[in-house]
Amino acid sequence: MRRAKWTPYLLLVPSLFYLALFFLYPMTQAFGLAFSRETQTLSLRAEPVESAATTGALELQTEVVVLDRQQLDETLPNGGTRPSFWYLIQGTDLAGETVEGWASQRSIFIENRRTSETARVTGGEATREWTFEHVNRMLTDFRFSSAISTTLLLMVLIIPAQFVLAIIMALVLQSQVRGSSMFLYIYAIPLGISDLVAGILWFAIFTQRGFLNSLMVSAGLIDLPFIFIRAENISWMISIIVLAEIWRATSIVMIIVVSGLQAIPKDYLEAGEVFGASMWQRLRHIILPLLKPSLQVALILRTILAFQVFAVVIAITGGDILTVLSNETFRWYDPARFNNPSVAAVYAGFIMIVSLAISLFYMRAVRSQDEATKSAT
Amino acid sequence: MAEIVIENAVKKFGKFTAIDNVSLTVHEHEFLVLLGPSGCGKTTLLRAIAGLGMLDSGRIIIGGKDVTYLAPRERGISMVFQNYAIFPHMKVFDNIAFGLKMQKAPKAQIQERVENAAKLLHIETMLDRFPSQMSGGQRQRIAVARAIAVESGIVLMDEPLSNLDALLRLEMRAELKTLLKRLGVTTIYVTHDQIEAMSMGDRIAVMRNGKVLQLDQPTKVYDLPVDQFVGGFIGTPPMNFLHGHVHQNGAGYVVRLGDFSLTPPQDVHPALAQQRDKPVIIGIRAECMEPMKTASPDAVPVTIDVVEPLGAQNLLTARIGQDTIKVSTHPDFTVSAGETIWLRFPENKVRYMDADTGRALAAETEKALA
């Protein structure tokens, strides 16, 4: 059937087109935003006509002196005419040089068309020029390095703990304890919980008048509530974010690990048992090696997601004392604050490059490790 | 008319040829079995007939109509799938009625035909159930009922019994055969179980590597295999193959097996003439030899290695020169390992085959293939 060859492509086209529209196009736009600047300049003409050669260019808002003017008659669609002025103006361009040339009345603001001696450039053509200005702006921003280090620190603290916890959960579920389907549901609950909600949940526990302090004060351990969340207590704030993220995002790792475990044929484990491997030995020598592909997928996924950590941080710390990359992106973009999408785009690009690089690094690391074990045997 | 004609069918998967220029005709009301080892292309051929995968070249004609490029539903066939493909979201009744509903048959007719089909397969009490509540054997019955309910006259079956346990398989085998014969449907039945093939088929098409090697009645395929492969594939134990040598003996030819000479029937002599002084394969079935405890000039002495008492017969494994031979004997024929016995080879039970190609050297070979 000839037609069958086209069917899959036909079925895929809408989705692929949609994804291209919403991934590729914005990416090119982001690139433009990050690396270019748009300026409007007015080209001055040698003669008082649009088609004449340019003699120089003036930036918007430049103050100019009017040296000469010329009144032309513009023909209107209805056949009548109306006066239209061209001015010979002189001003200082971006390079600091004095230039002069003709400009039409539409491109300048002039108090009185017939008498004023000065004017201001108000129109021109948009030109786009490449610049590292926005990149520099990000790099020199004093919060940039703290955003990176906090993001990375969170990643380093959260991911290993998540993996250990996820593997424990998976093994518990795999051991078929009574009610394991209920436990699976419970462990999976955080899968549907947003990082904003998770942040508020853990904020409720650690805030000054929160549950932890309530417990400690009621138990008589301390007299006055301890203030975990304050500027002098960065390490506590980090810890709370780490807890919240472990609490929230371990589920996804758990699900990946469990399905990886289910894919391991029971024979392997039983063989291990028959040959006298203890629980720990089975974990170390059979389960983990066979689980490696799943773990790798989970690791990459978690890493990329770790760079997007956002609402938890804001919910717990307010986002001012402690900042992360995505928060900086938002602050730069936010019309109510810096209102600079270009720098925000630089941040976004930075996040993408770093998460991509780390994912590639993982894949390389796992592969070279594979090759090492292969050549060793 | 429900005759199926396949002409020069070729099907390729990439560079691999799964069906290699197959031509065959299935007569009306015939039960044809496609038999062959795993991967030989049986399923591929059956699916091509069903229209579930187009041929690369060749034609398929069903009931005189060229259906090569038609969709499955336009071919007037029905099918029993290997895993039954009973729709789990439909009750048994709706499953059996599916084909009729698709044809927009009137309600009364659907009701009647479904009930008939269900009765024939003894599942009339289960029409209200969902397939998930039924055993493998019962699902198999639904699949068959669905196939016969449409009364298309042609039923294709791909190893329909392979998922059943041995006992049930035996039972269903007999039941299916009588049922399909009674209904008079043309059946193509795929299996790699040669006993199933022997017991059910009116004719058997033995396939290998995408080719049909032999298409014949079961007894013919068994007694007169066209080549070493067919002989070896069909029968338990498989046909014995011994290495002999052709010698001229006056006007005729003899085949020497060590010191012993076999005299082939006259019609093989022309073929043997071409093989003069060359090695030749002697094929003989285990139960076709006459074992004797005393020497005789027309019998070969062999040394017994193993004796397997199988109840209905004794299976002996013996050595004859370089070759091993299996002999099945009456259970009363008591011998033990190490003894020597003498075997007589009845002239009409011996097949001679080309040592290089494995093809039988006989006149009827050509006939069988035609």
Binding site: S194, L196, Y333 | M79
Partner: protein, 296 residues
């Protein structure tokens, strides 16, 4: 096995006692191990459930109790005051409406797009199939941050900024790769034989799809739709960038978080959490279908 093995060979009393003791020890060990696993299982469950309990507790306490210190671990008295205070706060009802609208549009759009695509990936072998799967896998974790900024600018230029509908377009893009993968695994779990059987018995390919494949895939597709709904309902970064006055619920809450009182915050967390809890319950059977298959 010969009969001798089971005969009553004389066994000394001491030996019998030793065997007995050994068996008892082994049994106790087994029980202990089971109990150990159970304790771990329960501890992990408590770890997950406790914060949820506490926030529910807060949501059902009076605002006075929420502000009290030390706090009670049980709502006493149970009151809907905090929740009603939250729901009646300015902007909550409209932003909840926006959230639901965005989520529903996202679900509809991404399902409509993903069903054919998922079917193609599950059923056909074609050039570029693996490449497409790989693309889906990799863009699934694509940083939202990266897309949200340029899209916001594009939408501004196009004059469709600050509209829930455009946010839904963005959410569709974010969830589409996952939805396609999930739906393709759902279709892959419907045996192809069913479809062939339907065709043999008189269906056109399209009829076979609607009569046989779709009914069987429907629960899975519904689960995927629910997952999509939850993803969209929870998403906050794109929401906060792409909307200004028409915020979704999480975006509205996040943006006003520093001005919010504790009762408001806690009630909001509870309200945002409940749909997720319910939905995850309904799709729990499909979780592996959704995330498990990414290993392949």
């Amino acid at each position: 096995m010969s009969a001798e093995t089971f005969s009553n060979a004389p066994v000394s009393v001491a030996q019998a006692q030793a065997w007995d003791a050994q068996r008892r020890r082994a049994r106790i060990q087994l029980r202990l191990r089971r109990a150990g696993v159970y304790v771990v299982a329960v501890a992990l469950a408590v770890w997950i459930l406790l914060p949820i309990w506490l926030i529910a507790n807060m949501a059902f306490s009076t605002p006075q109790d929420v502000r009290a210190f030390p706090k009670s671990f049980f709502p006493n008295p149970i009151s809907l005051e905090s929740i009603s205070f939250f729901l009646n706060a300015q902007g909550i009802i409209p932003s909840t409406g926006n959230s639901i609208f965005v989520a529903i549009v996202t679900v509809v759009l991404s399902t409509i797009l993903a069903v054919p695509a998922g079917y193609a990936i599950a059923r056909y072998v074609f050039r570029g199939r693996d490449a497409i799967r790989l693309v889906m896998l990799s863009v699934r974790a694509f940083p939202i941050v990266v897309l949200a900024v340029p899209l916001a600018v594009i939408f501004l230029q196009l004059g469709i900024f600050d509209q829930p509908f455009t946010l839904a377009l963005m959410h569709t893009a974010l969830t589409l790769p996952t939805t396609i993968l999930v739906i393709s695994s759902v279709f892959a779990s419907v045996p192809f034989e069913f479809e062939e059987a339907a065709q043999v018995f008189g269906c056109t390919p399209l009829q076979a799809f609607f009569q046989v494949v779709l009914p069987l895939a429907l629960p899975g597709i519904a689960a995927s739709a629910i997952l999509t709904f939850v993803l969209s309902w929870n998403e906050v970064f794109a929401a906060i960038l792409l909307t200004l006055s028409n915020r979704t619920l999480p975006a509205h809450i996040l943006y006003n978080l520093d001005k919010s009182s504790d009762p408001f915050k806690f009630a909001s967390a509870f309200v945002m959490l409940v749909p997720s809890l319910i939905f995850i319950f309904f799709i729990r059977r499909y979780l592996f279908n959704m995330w498990g298959q990414i290993n392949k």
